[in-house]
Symmetry: C2
Subunit: 379 residues, 2 copies
């Protein structure tokens, strides 16, 4: 048994909302925490035992931060990878492993990995720049995805006709054939440093097409059991082929024909796993800690159906956030709020989320609509 309850420092690279919720689970394991984040006053400020402001892209910053930690993890994959490799060589435990982060942080190597492993995914071609995208206009309708740096709905544009070319990125990335999606689902797998794998049941995502962000999600999924089973098997297979240690969130498209295509994966807690805090035996955050600490993984069983709604900054407001209608929101039976501690709201910025619990799926959907009606993040 490792002596990680004294003189043991967990370093978390990235200090956004995922880090914040991870930090909320850390006391249960007596973990001493330190966080690195570029912002002066991010969601993890004041919650970690130590908070360091610094660039996640700067070699020296990441190296110095990681060097004083006993175990290093991430809550965002866009991190200086050379620093991570150097730390790993010097004996710092890093989960997920730098090798895995490197594959995933670039959508091109991620896609290449699926091909090599026989993981079903939408057809794609690599593109170097906008000129290159233009040369492949015969591939439209397609999504143009930035190789590196996309996050939270950024780094993706939809190209339907040649008229859309000017919206294409002028940087290396992918052109991915638009598939006829029936449902988007997400499956979160966890693999521990001991090799144990556990899978959270699939959740169904409803996207807001305007912002390319999850509008709300619902769990469990209403898809036929065999499709859900296939999705879980696929998530397990990817976790296994990557030999990842930690969480792996797998976003998938289910086509009208019932075919499952992997969209993309994230090697960390994920927006589609927030509801596990209230609704499952083990939360995704606790599961991530168990996995990277080499502890047995927890049960992923769902105890109550739930829906999760992101609280986005209202269009037209930028400034100190006001949560208008919070009291009306909390009147909704089974609702729980999670604010992210961000002082400034901006249009479409993720300011928090709401989890709604109810045995009845139709009631859940009705309450999602009510949530969206009553609460507005303004300034």
């Amino acid at each position: 048994m490792k002596a990680f309850f004294r003189d043991f420092k967990l370093g978390i690279i990235g200090g956004g909302q995922l880090g914040r919720m991870l930090l909320q689970a850390c006391p249960n394991f007596n973990l001493y925490t330190c966080v690195l984040d570029p912002s002066e006053d991010g969601p993890c400020k004041g919650l970690a035992n130590e908070y360091t402001q610094g660039s996640l892209q700067d070699y020296q910053t990441v190296y110095a931060f990681g060097k004083q930690a006993d175990l290093l993890t991430i809550e965002i994959e866009n991190v200086n990878i050379d620093a991570l490799y150097q730390l790993e060589r010097e004996g710092v435990e890093i989960y997920p492993q730098p090798r895995v982060i490197e594959i995933i942080q670039d959508k091109r190597t991620q896609k290449q990995f699926y091909l090599e492993q026989g993981i079903p995914t939408a057809e794609f071609i690599m593109v170097k720049n906008r000129e290159d995208v233009k040369a492949h206009a015969n591939f439209f309708p397609a999504f143009n995805k930035l190789g590196k740096g996309g996050y939270d709905g950024g780094g993706v544009v939809s190209l339907k006709t040649v008229n859309d070319i000017e919206r294409a990125f002028d940087d290396p990335g992918l052109l991915e054939k638009t598939v006829d999606v029936d449902t988007e689902i997400s499956v979160i797998a966890a693999r521990s440093s001991l090799g144990e794998i556990r899978i959270f049941p699939p959740v169904e995502c409803v996207f807001n097409p305007d912002f390319n962000l999850v509008d709300y999600l619902i769990a469990p999924s209403s898809l036929p059991k065999d499709i859900q089973q296939t999705a879980e098997t696929l998530a397990r297979k990817i976790a296994q082929s990557l030999s990842i240690v930690g969480l792996l969130a797998v976003e998938m498209f289910v086509t009208k024909e019932g075919e499952i295509l992997v969209n993309e994966v994230a090697p960390r807690p994920h927006n589609s796993g927030h509801q596990t805090i209230n609704a499952n035996d083990t939360s995704q955050y606790e599961q991530h800690l168990r996995a990277i600490l080499g502890l047995p993984l927890g049960s992923t069983k769902i105890n109550t159906p739930s829906a999760m709604v992101n609280l986005l900054g209202e269009e037209g407001y930028t400034g100190p956030a006001i949560y208008h209608g919070l009291d009306k929101l909390l009147e909704i039976e089974g609702s729980n709020i999670f604010l992210y501690g961000k002082e400034i709201t901006k249009p479409h910025r993720k300011m928090g989320h709401v989890t709604i619990l109810n045995d009845d799926t139709e009631a859940l959907k009705k309450r999602v609509r009510l949530v969206k009606k009553v609460i507005k993040v303004i300034s």
Copy 2:
């Protein structure tokens, strides 16, 4: 809507495990927190935004701490009450109210309150000292309870015959007639500053008679529905008559005849509500925050049966804690661990707790036994 998300400081008096779990819920409401605790390095150290070491009994310390908070609450009732009254007079919001804390922090005034309000409770007499206890030996078998300062099983002794007299307290307290208890249950009520009341379903406590501490508890209770209903009504009645704002945990005895007697109450989160974190729509900690912030209270619905086991320091070990068998514990399906961040273990010290979730009550009880077998807090 109060502007409690910026420039608003929540002060928590007491920095033990209840404060620790309360702090884990605070980020969800964007609360800035400060804690006052006598120990240099208590369970809340490093989790609150500010941590002040100081005596909870010292007028000046409590006053100075409270004066810089916008809202003050407690996680232990043994606090200098004059300081709280002075702060209240000066306009600091204090929930639960000093008036309520004063009634409850002395078991004599607490009992007197039950009498006045017609709340059923075990027969008792007031005693001044050991001599006084001796003079009422005809009242045995009885429990001698210290008026003030008892906590976590301390401050209570069982007096069966006159031979036990030397164990009696030589301080003001109660002699309470021993009742023939069939079951002990606990009901946690919440009353908000707007007057709304919500009741968590009763949980059944199984006591360890040697240490007078909860051995484990199980929820929901297996008692007949009408008894549970009566217990809930009683908890509601007490919350109402006290006009408390915040949580009120009501410990009750159910006699073999099905009569319910109130044992004692606590105006704060309670050991018997830990399992709500995983098993209910709303945790007791979130509920307390909602209540004192003047927000609508949350649903108290149970989503899964659960058991809660306190992790006590093993007999014969005093020193830096080691959680022997933690990995075996976490292998138990549906188990979640909560460590309290206490560096030093002592015999019977509460070092953490384990919540076990399972649909089947018999499986829960079996797993409780397994938990107790596999994990030992030693040094």
